[in-house]
Amino acid sequence: MVKFNVNKKSQVEIMGLVIIMIIISLVLLFVVSVVFKQKPGTEFSEAHGDLSSTFVNTLLQTDSGCVQDTTMQDLFVNCARSAGKGSITCDDGITKSCEYLNVTVISILENTLNVWNVDTERGYEFIAVVPPQKVLMHYTAGDLSTSLGGQVEPFPLSLYPSPVDLMIYLCVGGCGIDY
Protein backbone atom coordinates (compact mmCIF):
# COMPACT_ATOMS: atom_id res chain seq x y z
CA MET A 1 0.00 0.00 0.00
CA VAL A 2 2.83 2.39 0.95
CA LYS A 3 4.81 1.41 -2.16
CA PHE A 4 1.76 2.12 -4.35
CA ASN A 5 1.39 5.61 -2.78
CA VAL A 6 5.08 6.44 -3.37
CA ASN A 7 4.75 5.37 -7.03
CA LYS A 8 1.69 7.59 -7.51
CA LYS A 9 3.52 10.53 -5.91
CA SER A 10 6.52 10.17 -8.23
CA GLN A 11 4.20 9.90 -11.22
CA VAL A 12 2.52 13.18 -10.23
CA GLU A 13 5.96 14.83 -9.82
CA ILE A 14 7.01 13.60 -13.27
CA MET A 15 3.76 14.98 -14.72
CA GLY A 16 4.58 18.35 -13.11
CA LEU A 17 8.02 18.32 -14.67
CA VAL A 18 6.56 17.42 -18.07
CA ILE A 19 4.07 20.33 -17.82
CA ILE A 20 6.90 22.74 -16.90
CA MET A 21 8.98 21.47 -19.83
CA ILE A 22 6.02 21.93 -22.20
CA ILE A 23 5.45 25.50 -20.98
CA ILE A 24 9.15 26.39 -21.34
CA SER A 25 9.35 24.88 -24.83
CA LEU A 26 6.19 26.76 -25.89
CA VAL A 27 7.70 30.03 -24.65
CA LEU A 28 10.96 29.28 -26.49
CA LEU A 29 9.06 28.38 -29.67
CA PHE A 30 7.16 31.66 -29.50
CA VAL A 31 10.36 33.69 -28.97
CA VAL A 32 12.14 31.91 -31.83
CA SER A 33 9.18 32.37 -34.20
CA VAL A 34 9.02 36.09 -33.41
CA VAL A 35 12.77 36.67 -33.70
CA PHE A 36 13.25 34.77 -36.95
CA LYS A 37 10.02 35.92 -38.59
CA GLN A 38 10.85 37.27 -42.05
CA LYS A 39 10.49 41.01 -42.34
CA PRO A 40 7.78 41.72 -44.92
CA GLY A 41 8.17 44.37 -47.64
CA THR A 42 11.50 46.06 -48.07
CA GLU A 43 10.31 48.35 -50.82
CA PHE A 44 10.58 51.60 -48.98
CA SER A 45 13.95 50.89 -47.37
CA GLU A 46 15.18 50.61 -50.95
CA ALA A 47 13.40 53.84 -51.77
CA HIS A 48 15.05 55.42 -48.76
CA GLY A 49 18.40 54.16 -50.05
CA ASP A 50 17.54 55.84 -53.34
CA LEU A 51 17.54 59.20 -51.58
CA SER A 52 21.27 59.74 -52.08
CA SER A 53 21.19 58.75 -55.76
CA THR A 54 18.13 60.91 -56.48
CA PHE A 55 19.68 63.78 -54.56
CA VAL A 56 23.00 63.73 -56.41
CA ASN A 57 21.37 63.21 -59.81
CA THR A 58 19.10 66.18 -59.23
CA LEU A 59 21.98 68.28 -57.91
CA LEU A 60 24.14 67.58 -60.96
CA GLN A 61 21.32 68.53 -63.36
CA THR A 62 20.63 71.82 -61.59
CA ASP A 63 21.64 75.04 -63.33
CA SER A 64 24.52 76.49 -61.34
CA GLY A 65 23.64 80.18 -61.47
CA CYS A 66 27.39 80.90 -61.58
CA VAL A 67 27.61 81.44 -65.32
CA GLN A 68 24.75 81.06 -67.78
CA ASP A 69 24.18 77.59 -69.24
CA THR A 70 26.38 75.75 -66.77
CA THR A 71 25.10 73.02 -64.54
CA MET A 72 26.46 71.94 -61.18
CA GLN A 73 28.00 68.99 -62.99
CA ASP A 74 29.97 71.39 -65.24
CA LEU A 75 31.26 73.22 -62.16
CA PHE A 76 32.29 69.97 -60.45
CA VAL A 77 34.19 68.86 -63.56
CA ASN A 78 35.80 72.29 -63.98
CA CYS A 79 36.82 72.37 -60.33
CA ALA A 80 38.33 68.89 -60.51
CA ARG A 81 40.22 69.64 -63.75
CA SER A 82 41.72 72.83 -62.36
CA ALA A 83 43.10 71.06 -59.28
CA GLY A 84 40.56 72.48 -56.86
CA LYS A 85 40.99 76.14 -57.82
CA GLY A 86 38.41 76.59 -60.55
CA SER A 87 39.06 78.15 -63.91
CA ILE A 88 35.53 79.50 -64.33
CA THR A 89 34.86 82.91 -62.81
CA CYS A 90 31.22 83.49 -61.93
CA ASP A 91 29.14 86.39 -63.25
CA ASP A 92 29.97 88.47 -60.16
CA GLY A 93 33.55 88.63 -61.49
CA ILE A 94 35.12 87.45 -58.22
CA THR A 95 33.98 83.97 -57.20
CA LYS A 96 35.73 80.98 -58.72
CA SER A 97 33.83 77.80 -59.58
CA CYS A 98 35.21 75.74 -56.66
CA GLU A 99 34.37 78.34 -54.04
CA TYR A 100 30.91 78.91 -55.55
CA LEU A 101 30.30 75.17 -55.67
CA ASN A 102 31.30 74.73 -52.05
CA VAL A 103 28.97 77.44 -50.78
CA THR A 104 26.05 76.43 -53.00
CA VAL A 105 26.17 72.69 -52.31
CA ILE A 106 26.41 73.23 -48.54
CA SER A 107 23.49 75.65 -48.70
CA ILE A 108 21.39 73.10 -50.64
CA LEU A 109 22.33 70.30 -48.21
CA GLU A 110 21.43 72.43 -45.22
CA ASN A 111 18.10 73.49 -46.73
CA THR A 112 17.08 69.95 -47.55
CA LEU A 113 18.66 67.09 -45.60
CA ASN A 114 18.99 69.15 -42.41
CA VAL A 115 15.38 70.35 -42.72
CA TRP A 116 14.29 66.70 -43.17
CA ASN A 117 16.21 65.79 -39.96
CA VAL A 118 18.56 63.40 -41.75
CA ASP A 119 21.43 65.01 -39.84
CA THR A 120 19.89 64.41 -36.42
CA GLU A 121 18.52 60.95 -37.18
CA ARG A 122 21.55 59.30 -38.79
CA GLY A 123 23.94 61.98 -39.97
CA TYR A 124 25.31 62.20 -43.50
CA GLU A 125 28.48 62.85 -45.41
CA PHE A 126 29.02 64.54 -48.79
CA ILE A 127 32.36 63.93 -50.46
CA ALA A 128 33.71 64.95 -53.87
CA VAL A 129 37.11 63.39 -54.47
CA VAL A 130 39.46 62.73 -57.36
CA PRO A 131 41.31 59.53 -56.48
CA PRO A 132 43.76 58.91 -55.05
CA GLN A 133 43.86 61.95 -52.75
CA LYS A 134 42.48 65.17 -54.19
CA VAL A 135 39.47 66.11 -52.05
CA LEU A 136 37.35 68.86 -53.59
CA MET A 137 34.63 68.85 -50.98
CA HIS A 138 33.98 67.14 -47.70
CA TYR A 139 30.93 68.09 -45.69
CA THR A 140 29.50 66.18 -42.75
CA ALA A 141 26.41 66.81 -40.64
CA GLY A 142 25.17 65.04 -37.57
CA ASP A 143 26.87 62.50 -35.37
CA LEU A 144 28.39 59.83 -37.61
CA SER A 145 30.15 58.05 -34.74
CA THR A 146 26.97 56.25 -33.72
CA SER A 147 26.30 55.10 -37.24
CA LEU A 148 27.54 51.90 -38.81
CA GLY A 149 27.90 53.47 -42.26
CA GLY A 150 25.34 53.69 -45.01
CA GLN A 151 25.32 53.63 -48.79
CA VAL A 152 28.76 53.80 -50.35
CA GLU A 153 27.79 54.09 -53.99
CA PRO A 154 29.90 56.74 -55.76
CA PHE A 155 28.70 58.86 -58.69
CA PRO A 156 31.55 58.98 -61.17
CA LEU A 157 31.96 62.03 -63.41
CA SER A 158 34.33 61.62 -66.33
CA LEU A 159 37.32 64.00 -66.42
CA TYR A 160 38.31 62.95 -69.94
CA PRO A 161 41.10 62.98 -71.20
CA SER A 162 42.27 62.26 -67.63
CA PRO A 163 41.96 58.52 -66.91
CA VAL A 164 40.59 59.10 -63.41
CA ASP A 165 36.99 60.03 -62.62
CA LEU A 166 35.64 62.49 -60.09
CA MET A 167 33.77 60.50 -57.45
CA ILE A 168 30.83 62.03 -55.63
CA TYR A 169 29.51 60.34 -52.50
CA LEU A 170 26.43 61.20 -50.49
CA CYS A 171 26.17 58.71 -47.68
CA VAL A 172 23.36 58.74 -45.15
CA GLY A 173 24.96 57.39 -41.98
CA GLY A 174 28.53 58.05 -43.11
CA CYS A 175 30.63 56.70 -45.99
CA GLY A 176 33.37 55.03 -44.01
CA ILE A 177 35.80 55.31 -46.94
CA ASP A 178 39.49 56.12 -47.06
CA TYR A 179 40.66 58.36 -49.86
Binding site: G16, I23, V27, F30, V31, V34, P40, G41, E43, F44, A47, L51, T54, F55, N57, T58, L59, Q61, T62, D63, G65, T71, T104, S107, I108, N111, T112, W116
Partner: protein, 173 residues
Amino acid sequence: MIAQGCIKMDKKAQIKMGESIIILFIFFILVVFGLVFYASISKFTSGQAAVEAEEMNVENIQKELRFLSEIQCTESGNTRFDCYDIGKIIATQDSIQENYNYYAQTVFLQTNISFVEVFPDNNEWILYEPVFTEDNMMNVKGGSAFQIPVTLFDPLEDTYNFGYVSIMVYKYG
Protein backbone atom coordinates in the same frame (compact mmCIF):
# COMPACT_ATOMS: atom_id res chain seq x y z
CA MET B 1 7.02 9.70 19.97
CA ILE B 2 3.68 10.37 18.28
CA ALA B 3 4.06 14.09 18.99
CA GLN B 4 7.57 14.07 17.46
CA GLY B 5 6.18 12.35 14.34
CA CYS B 6 3.49 15.03 14.09
CA ILE B 7 6.11 17.82 14.27
CA LYS B 8 8.19 16.08 11.56
CA MET B 9 5.13 15.77 9.29
CA ASP B 10 4.26 19.45 9.90
CA LYS B 11 7.75 20.49 8.88
CA LYS B 12 7.53 18.33 5.73
CA ALA B 13 4.19 19.83 4.84
CA GLN B 14 5.59 23.36 5.34
CA ILE B 15 8.50 22.59 3.05
CA LYS B 16 6.10 21.18 0.42
CA MET B 17 3.94 24.29 0.71
CA GLY B 18 7.00 26.49 0.33
CA GLU B 19 7.99 24.54 -2.79
CA SER B 20 4.49 24.93 -4.25
CA ILE B 21 4.50 28.66 -3.52
CA ILE B 22 7.91 29.09 -5.18
CA ILE B 23 6.76 27.10 -8.24
CA LEU B 24 3.58 29.16 -8.48
CA PHE B 25 5.60 32.36 -8.09
CA ILE B 26 8.00 31.35 -10.89
CA PHE B 27 5.06 30.29 -13.04
CA PHE B 28 3.34 33.65 -12.63
CA ILE B 29 6.59 35.50 -13.31
CA LEU B 30 6.90 33.52 -16.54
CA VAL B 31 3.30 34.33 -17.47
CA VAL B 32 3.79 38.04 -16.76
CA PHE B 33 7.07 38.04 -18.69
CA GLY B 34 5.34 36.34 -21.63
CA LEU B 35 2.47 38.82 -21.61
CA VAL B 36 4.79 41.84 -21.46
CA PHE B 37 6.94 40.39 -24.25
CA TYR B 38 3.89 39.64 -26.40
CA ALA B 39 2.43 43.10 -25.82
CA SER B 40 5.66 44.87 -26.74
CA ILE B 41 6.18 42.72 -29.84
CA SER B 42 2.61 43.19 -31.06
CA LYS B 43 2.87 46.93 -30.45
CA PHE B 44 6.13 47.05 -32.41
CA THR B 45 4.80 44.95 -35.33
CA SER B 46 1.57 46.91 -35.58
CA GLY B 47 3.58 50.16 -35.58
CA GLN B 48 5.84 48.74 -38.27
CA ALA B 49 2.87 47.63 -40.34
CA ALA B 50 1.38 51.11 -40.11
CA VAL B 51 4.69 52.70 -41.20
CA GLU B 52 4.98 50.24 -44.09
CA ALA B 53 1.43 50.98 -45.23
CA GLU B 54 2.21 54.68 -45.08
CA GLU B 55 5.39 54.20 -47.10
CA MET B 56 3.59 52.12 -49.70
CA ASN B 57 1.05 54.90 -49.99
CA VAL B 58 3.86 57.42 -50.57
CA GLU B 59 5.46 55.15 -53.18
CA ASN B 60 2.17 54.94 -55.06
CA ILE B 61 1.69 58.70 -54.97
CA GLN B 62 5.28 59.17 -56.12
CA LYS B 63 4.62 56.87 -59.10
CA GLU B 64 1.43 58.76 -59.92
CA LEU B 65 3.35 62.04 -59.84
CA ARG B 66 6.19 60.73 -62.00
CA PHE B 67 3.79 59.85 -64.77
CA LEU B 68 1.42 62.77 -64.35
CA SER B 69 1.78 64.30 -67.80
CA GLU B 70 0.15 67.54 -66.63
CA ILE B 71 3.28 68.63 -64.75
CA GLN B 72 6.20 66.74 -66.35
CA CYS B 73 9.09 68.59 -68.00
CA THR B 74 9.31 67.98 -71.71
CA GLU B 75 12.14 68.80 -74.10
CA SER B 76 11.27 68.46 -77.80
CA GLY B 77 8.54 66.02 -76.90
CA ASN B 78 10.74 63.92 -74.61
CA THR B 79 9.95 63.81 -70.92
CA ARG B 80 12.73 64.47 -68.44
CA PHE B 81 12.79 62.08 -65.49
CA ASP B 82 12.08 63.49 -62.00
CA CYS B 83 11.63 66.97 -63.41
CA TYR B 84 8.51 69.12 -63.02
CA ASP B 85 7.59 72.30 -64.85
CA ILE B 86 6.70 75.15 -62.47
CA GLY B 87 4.42 76.74 -65.09
CA LYS B 88 2.53 73.49 -65.50
CA ILE B 89 2.29 73.04 -61.72
CA ILE B 90 0.63 76.46 -61.38
CA ALA B 91 -1.76 75.67 -64.25
CA THR B 92 -2.57 72.25 -62.78
CA GLN B 93 -3.46 73.80 -59.40
CA ASP B 94 -6.50 75.40 -61.07
CA SER B 95 -7.34 72.24 -62.95
CA ILE B 96 -7.24 70.23 -59.72
CA GLN B 97 -9.60 72.70 -58.06
CA GLU B 98 -12.05 72.35 -60.96
CA ASN B 99 -11.88 68.54 -61.00
CA TYR B 100 -11.28 68.01 -57.30
CA ASN B 101 -13.32 64.82 -56.99
CA TYR B 102 -11.40 63.03 -59.75
CA TYR B 103 -7.97 63.84 -58.27
CA ALA B 104 -9.13 63.16 -54.71
CA GLN B 105 -10.63 59.77 -55.50
CA THR B 106 -8.26 58.37 -58.10
CA VAL B 107 -4.89 60.13 -57.95
CA PHE B 108 -3.82 61.75 -54.69
CA LEU B 109 -6.36 60.42 -52.16
CA GLN B 110 -5.85 61.83 -48.65
CA THR B 111 -2.36 63.27 -49.08
CA ASN B 112 -0.93 66.73 -49.23
CA ILE B 113 1.45 67.41 -52.14
CA SER B 114 3.65 70.44 -52.46
CA PHE B 115 6.72 71.39 -54.49
CA VAL B 116 9.45 73.34 -52.73
CA GLU B 117 12.21 75.18 -54.56
CA VAL B 118 15.46 75.33 -52.59
CA PHE B 119 17.95 76.75 -55.10
CA PRO B 120 18.36 79.41 -56.44
CA ASP B 121 15.23 80.80 -54.72
CA ASN B 122 12.96 79.60 -51.96
CA ASN B 123 9.42 79.06 -53.19
CA GLU B 124 6.60 76.66 -52.51
CA TRP B 125 3.65 75.56 -54.63
CA ILE B 126 0.90 73.45 -53.11
CA LEU B 127 -0.35 71.13 -55.83
CA TYR B 128 -3.04 69.34 -53.88
CA GLU B 129 -4.58 69.62 -50.44
CA PRO B 130 -7.33 67.28 -49.33
CA VAL B 131 -10.54 68.88 -48.15
CA PHE B 132 -11.56 67.39 -44.83
CA THR B 133 -15.12 67.03 -43.69
CA GLU B 134 -15.81 67.62 -40.01
CA ASP B 135 -15.92 63.86 -39.34
CA ASN B 136 -12.62 63.30 -41.18
CA MET B 137 -11.01 66.16 -39.31
CA MET B 138 -11.93 64.57 -35.98
CA ASN B 139 -10.30 61.28 -37.01
CA VAL B 140 -7.02 62.72 -38.25
CA LYS B 141 -4.24 61.87 -35.79
CA GLY B 142 -1.32 63.77 -37.32
CA GLY B 143 0.70 62.87 -40.38
CA SER B 144 4.14 62.09 -41.75
CA ALA B 145 5.92 64.02 -44.49
CA PHE B 146 8.17 62.36 -47.07
CA GLN B 147 10.48 64.38 -49.29
CA ILE B 148 11.91 63.46 -52.68
CA PRO B 149 14.51 65.64 -54.45
CA VAL B 150 13.38 66.77 -57.91
CA THR B 151 14.39 69.22 -60.61
CA LEU B 152 12.02 72.16 -61.05
CA PHE B 153 12.01 73.79 -64.47
CA ASP B 154 11.36 77.53 -64.52
CA PRO B 155 10.00 78.30 -68.02
CA LEU B 156 10.29 82.08 -67.54
CA GLU B 157 14.00 82.00 -66.69
CA ASP B 158 14.61 78.80 -68.69
CA THR B 159 16.52 77.28 -65.78
CA TYR B 160 16.49 73.93 -64.04
CA ASN B 161 16.31 74.53 -60.30
CA PHE B 162 16.86 72.29 -57.30
CA GLY B 163 13.83 71.43 -55.22
CA TYR B 164 11.87 68.65 -53.68
CA VAL B 165 8.37 67.29 -53.61
CA SER B 166 6.88 66.90 -50.17
CA ILE B 167 4.21 64.23 -49.73
CA MET B 168 2.29 64.40 -46.49
CA VAL B 169 0.35 61.30 -45.52
CA TYR B 170 -2.34 61.68 -42.88
CA LYS B 171 -2.87 59.18 -40.09
CA TYR B 172 -6.36 58.30 -38.98
CA GLY B 173 -7.25 57.14 -35.50
